[in-house]
Amino acid sequence: MNQRSSSLLDEALGLDQVIEPWPLRGRVLTIEDRVETSGSFVLHHLLKRSLSPNSSNVSILIAFSQPFSHYDRVLRKLGCNLVSQRDNGRFLFFDMLKLQCPVGDEGITPGGGLIALFGKIHKTISALPEISRKNVSIIIDDLSLMEVAANGSSNYVLDFLHYCRTLTSEFDCSLITLNHEDIYSIEDGRTFLLQMEYSTDILIKVEPLATGLAADVHGQLTVSNKGRNKASNFHFKVKENVVECFYPGRSRD
């Protein structure tokens, strides 16, 4: 039943067909949200899909935004137990809440925050058994906080993302990131966002409706899938245990 409701989103992402091999392998996925409409539910949905029992996916969540307990509770309501997945080695949680690069550090020193983080990711993936190494998802929540941790040097963050992208070719990882579009849509800040959008394979925008917020429809999703040369737009409503996606004017798919 859960599959049916999110099928519009899954369809747009290519997740509705087979789950093995993971359709998002080697792809870069960017989620953009705003203050009015948070896009975390898309992250949760993707995390849940990647940890589905039918596959041997490993997910690495690099969390700048919330502690483990928050994700645990949310995913539990979605039907996924992060604690047991963590014990099985299928879910790895990197707590970055307190990461702060020292001021003046441009990432040149090997000890610098983001370089160390990349090293850790690389090491973790290399240490995985052969079968899992092919199906890793790296999820970053969220990029704007990574910029704060790097004291504002977005070049540093872009470099880090570039390195992560090499992982998508070296190991066939998928890279999923969340960022806030309304921070960059003003004046001179667009560069970072544009670079991200250019190099991404699938772009998911989470926006409010033009008419504002409503109790029945929480917003609209626009998914641009470059791989399939497809763009879809539909409305969504977020619930505790599922995200309902439907075309405008209908309450259900």
């Binding site: 029992p53 704007s144 504002g152 917020l213």
Partner: protein
């Protein structure tokens, strides 16, 4: 409810954590959240209980009016009533002075007089405002109990808080005017929060951090945009692992738009206050009770901890009124009935015969 697709053992309800004992001024909410009161019962109702522990509240000030201070006063006074430790940082030279302006809880018999009686004689208007009264009546029963044990108090802004509640309490005041960087404030916050760690189980005490006008221009660090953002981020991560709530007020007009948005994203609960213009005839015609309003309160975001479902409020703009100039009241805005005629429809036209019994319309 839990779909036991994976191993069943991990879905067993953890019985040991049922109903933890909570200290004064705290109450349980859904999703394992624990709330403390904002000091304004109306606002608590709007937010679904209050401010959750471990959350960051941000209030966008109106740079031309001090209405955010009304919110802060009630917030701080509420904490002191419950004996909750307080950290207060402000750009003033001597922040302690502000403590003298904190209000005292209202005597309970005054609470009930919040029903705006002047509207009774305008019989037609009641119909428009019906919904407003309907919800309020159900929640005014708490007034009888002793002030200390109530979750949330009404405050009388004309009565200062009793001295004994201020002296001898754990209150830490910090002036942020002269700090060239934020490390002092960060250390003070860290020390304060280390006394209130979060562990599973009972919570004996919750703390409140109040930072007023964080990016005020008289503060030496106010042009260091990334440093301020780092501070907020580290404060938020410290708060998330402690039993406290932090409230930061700031004037968004003093930040560049892009940074303003970044600050907004940081907040778990985001509010803004705006003063009403003195003589705004158009708004006065559109909204009832405009003359009594001192400002608008907007709720932009409500904290969503441990859940992904957003809170969609029926109304996000509220009026701030000072009832009898003593009690802070947050109310829904009510649209005034549109007059068909150009003149007042309730007054007499005067030219009719003297038999006009134009007193109150009785329904």
């Amino acid at each position: 409810m839990a779909t036991a697709k994976t191993r069943t053992s991990s879905f067993c309800r953890n019985l040991s954590s049922a109903a933890p004992s909570l200290g004064p001024g705290l109450k349980c909410g859904p999703n394992g959240m624990v709330f403390l009161s904002s000091g304004i019962p109306d606002l608590d109702k709007v937010l679904g209980g209050g401010f959750p522990l471990g959350s960051l509240v941000m209030v966008m000030e109106d740079a031309e009016a001090p209405h955010h201070m009304l919110l802060l006063r009630n917030f701080m006074a509420q904490g002191l009533i419950h004996g909750q430790p307080l950290l207060y940082a402000s750009p003033a030279r001597d922040p302690k002075g502000f403590l003298g302006t904190l209000p005292s809880p209202a005597a309970s018999k005054d609470d009930k007089s919040r029903e705006p009686d002047p509207h009774q004689e305008k019989g037609l208007r009641i119909a428009w405002q019906y919904k407003k009264y309907f919800g309020e009546n159900q929640l005014n029963f708490d007034g009888q109990r002793d002030g200390k044990h109530e979750y949330s108090n009404e405050f009388d802004l004309r009565k200062p808080l009793e001295r004994h509640l201020i002296i001898g309490q754990r209150i830490d005041c910090v002036s942020i005017q002269d700090s060239s960087d934020l490390s002092t404030l960060q250390d003070r916050c860290a020390t304060f929060l280390s006394q209130l760690p979060r562990n599973d189980g009972s919570i004996s005490c919750a703390g409140r951090i109040t930072i007023q006008s964080f990016c005020a221009p008289q503060c030496a660090y106010s042009n260091m945009e990334w440093e301020m953002l780092s501070f907020i981020r580290s404060l938020k991560s410290m708060i998330q692992s402690s039993n406290s709530v932090a409230i930061i007020t700031f004037p968004p007009s003093l930040l560049s738009p892009s940074f303003g948005k970044r600050w907004q994203h940081m907040a778990d609960t985001l509010l803004s206050v705006k003063a009403t213009q003195d003589e705004d005839k158009e708004l006065a015609q559109l909204i009832t009770g405009y003359q009594d309003m001192v400002g608008f309160l907007n709720v932009h975001k409500v904290a969503r901890i441990n859940t992904q479902v957003p809170v969609i409020l029926e109304a996000t703009t509220f009026s701030i009124k000072l009832h009898k100039r003593r009690y802070l009241v947050i109310e829904c805005l009510n649209q005034a009935p549109v007059d068909g005629s150009s003149g007042a429809s309730y007054g007499t036209s005067g030219s009719c015969s003297s038999s006009s019994k134009t007193g109150n319309l009785d329904f």
